[in-house]
Symmetry: C2
Subunit: 254 residues, 2 copies
C-alpha cells in the first residue's frame, strides 16, 4: 500500500475561505498533523488521528508526517494560509531533500489556500493591485542584514510590501526597525494596513500611514501591507476608506 | 433598496479550487459581470443575468458593474485567480476613486481566490517558500524601464520572482527581454517554472533552468516563477522533481 502526504492550506481561518479541494483532502486523511492552534479550528472526525505540535517545530512535524505517510497512510499536514508562503510546504521539501530515498518516491500533494496578504488586501480594497513583494521579518532563519537589504531594494524600486512574521516574544524590535527603515524610502503619508485573523471572531484591520504606524499594534498573527508611492486612499461615505494601488504606474485621474 | 458589488476570485480554473465563500457569492448574485472566458467556466443559473466583456475592457466592465449595483442590485464581478493580484479589484477601486459620490457609499466586498503563483508553486513544491516578488510584465500601463528596474532590484536582492502577464499578441518580446535581463543577475542553473491552467484539462507545467527557459513556451495564461540563488531542485524516483526555496537563507544540508 502506497501512502500519500497532502499539505493543506486552511486560509486565514474562516471555514468559508477554504477551497473544496482542501475540505476533501482533510476529510479523506487517516491522520492530521499540524500546529495545535490550526488543528483546533477543525471539527474532530471519527477514526481520524491527530498529532498536534508547537510553533517552531516545523521540521520535526514535517518529518513525522512524511514518516507516517511513507509507511502507507493517507496523511494530511495542515498549514495556515497557503502552505507555499512562509509555511509548511518548504519545510516538507527540506525534509525530503535531506531525508531517506523512500521520501523522494512518496506522492506529495500541495493544496493551496488563501495566504494572509490576499485576505488582508481583500478587506481594504486592492493594495496589492500592482507589483508587490512578500518578505518575512523573521531573522531566525536569515540575518537581519538580508531583511534590510530586501526592504531597501523593494521599497526603492516601487514595490508594495507585504510583511509576514512581523513580531514575536523572541523578536520584539524587528517590525519597528523595518518601519523606521521604510520611512527613509517612502513619504509619511504612504498607506499602511495592519490585518489579523481575517474572517475570525477576533479579526482586526487598521488602516494607517507610515508616519503613524505603531509596531505595538501587531502581534504574531498580523500581516502588514506597506504601500508604494502610488498607493491611494479613497474616503467613503459611512464606511472605512478603500486602499488601492492603481494598475497603471501613474494613474490618470478623472 | 441598497445594492452590493462582490468582486469574486475564481482561482486558477478548477472548480475545486474555489472557496465556499466565493461559491455562495456567485449563487446569490442577481447578475454576473466578467471576461467571457471566465463566465464560460460557470454553469448558468436560472434568473441570473450575465454580462460578458472582452480582455482589456476592465475599466468599462468595472464601471458597468458598479452602475448596476448602485441601482440596488446584488452584483458579482468575477475575476480569474485572486481579484487583488493584477485583476479586477484594482480596476473597481480606480472607478470608485474617479466616479460619482454614490459609488463611494456602495457596499463593496472582495472575495479572495487562489492566485496563479500559488497554484503553480503548489504543483512543483515550494518555490515561493522564502521572500518573493510578483511583477506584471505588461508595459501597457507602465513604462518598460520600470519593469527593468524592478527585475534588477528583486533579483539583485535575492527575491524569487513570479512573473504575471508574460506575453500577448501585442507584447511579444517582453518575456524574452526579462529572461535575458535576469541572466545577468542569476546563475544559469537557477530553476524556472512555467505553469498554466492549473487544474484544468489543458494544464501544463514545465520545470527548466534560466539558461534553457524558452519564452515561446509561454502564452497569455502562463505564470512564470524564477528562483533565487537559494532555490533548489530535488530529483525524485518516478515523478517530476521538486522545486523549493528553503526557509533559511543558507539552508543547512543534512
Amino acid at each position: 500500500m502506497s501512502g500519500r502526504l497532502s499539505v493543506i492550506g486552511l486560509g486565514p481561518g474562516d471555514p468559508a475561505a477554504i477551497t473544496a479541494e482542501a475540505v476533501a483532502a482533510l476529510k479523506s486523511a487517516q491522520a492530521l498533523y499540524g500546529y495545535a492552534g490550526y488543528l483546533d479550528r477543525l471539527p474532530p472526525q471519527s477514526g481520524q488521528q491527530r498529532f498536534a505540535s508547537g510553533n517552531g517545530e516545523e521540521a520535526t512535524r514535517a518529518a513525522a508526517a512524511l514518516g507516517h505517510a511513507v509507511a502507507g497512510a493517507d496523511i494530511a499536514l495542515i498549514s495556515g494560509g497557503d502552505p507555499g508562503v512562509f509555511a509548511m510546504a518548504a519545510a516538507v521539501c527540506e525534509q525530503i531533500d535531506a531525508g531517506p530515498a523512500a521520501w523522494r518516491a512518496l506522492e506529495v500533494r500541495i493544496v493551496p489556500g488563501i495566504t494572509a496578504m490576499l485576505a488582508v488586501a481583500a478587506r481594504v480594497g486592492a493594495p496589492l493591485g500592482h507589483d508587490f513583494c512578500a518578505i518575512s521579518l523573521s531573522d531566525n532563519l536569515k540575518p537581519w542584514s538580508v531583511v534590510e537589504r530586501r526592504l531597501d531594494a523593494a521599497a526603492g524600486a516601487g514595490f508594495v510590501l507585504a510583511l509576514y512574521n512581523p513580531i514575536s516574544r523572541a523578536r520584539p524590535w524587528q517590525l519597528g526597525a523595518a518601519i523606521e527603515r521604510l520611512r527613509g524610502h517612502l513619504p509619511e503619508t504612504t498607506p499602511v494596513v495592519f490585518g489579523r485573523a481575517i474572517g475570525r471572531p477576533d479579526e482586526r484591520v487598521v488602516v494607517t500611514t507610515l508616519q503613524t504606524a505603531d509596531p505595538a499594534a501587531a502581534d504574531m498573527a498580523t500581516l502588514i501591507i506597506v504601500g508604494s508611492t502610488q498607493t491611494r486612499l479613497v474616503a467613503r461615505s459611512g464606511q472605512a476608506p478603500l486602499v488601492y494601488t492603481p494598475r497603471s504606474f501613474a494613474a490618470v485621474r478623472a
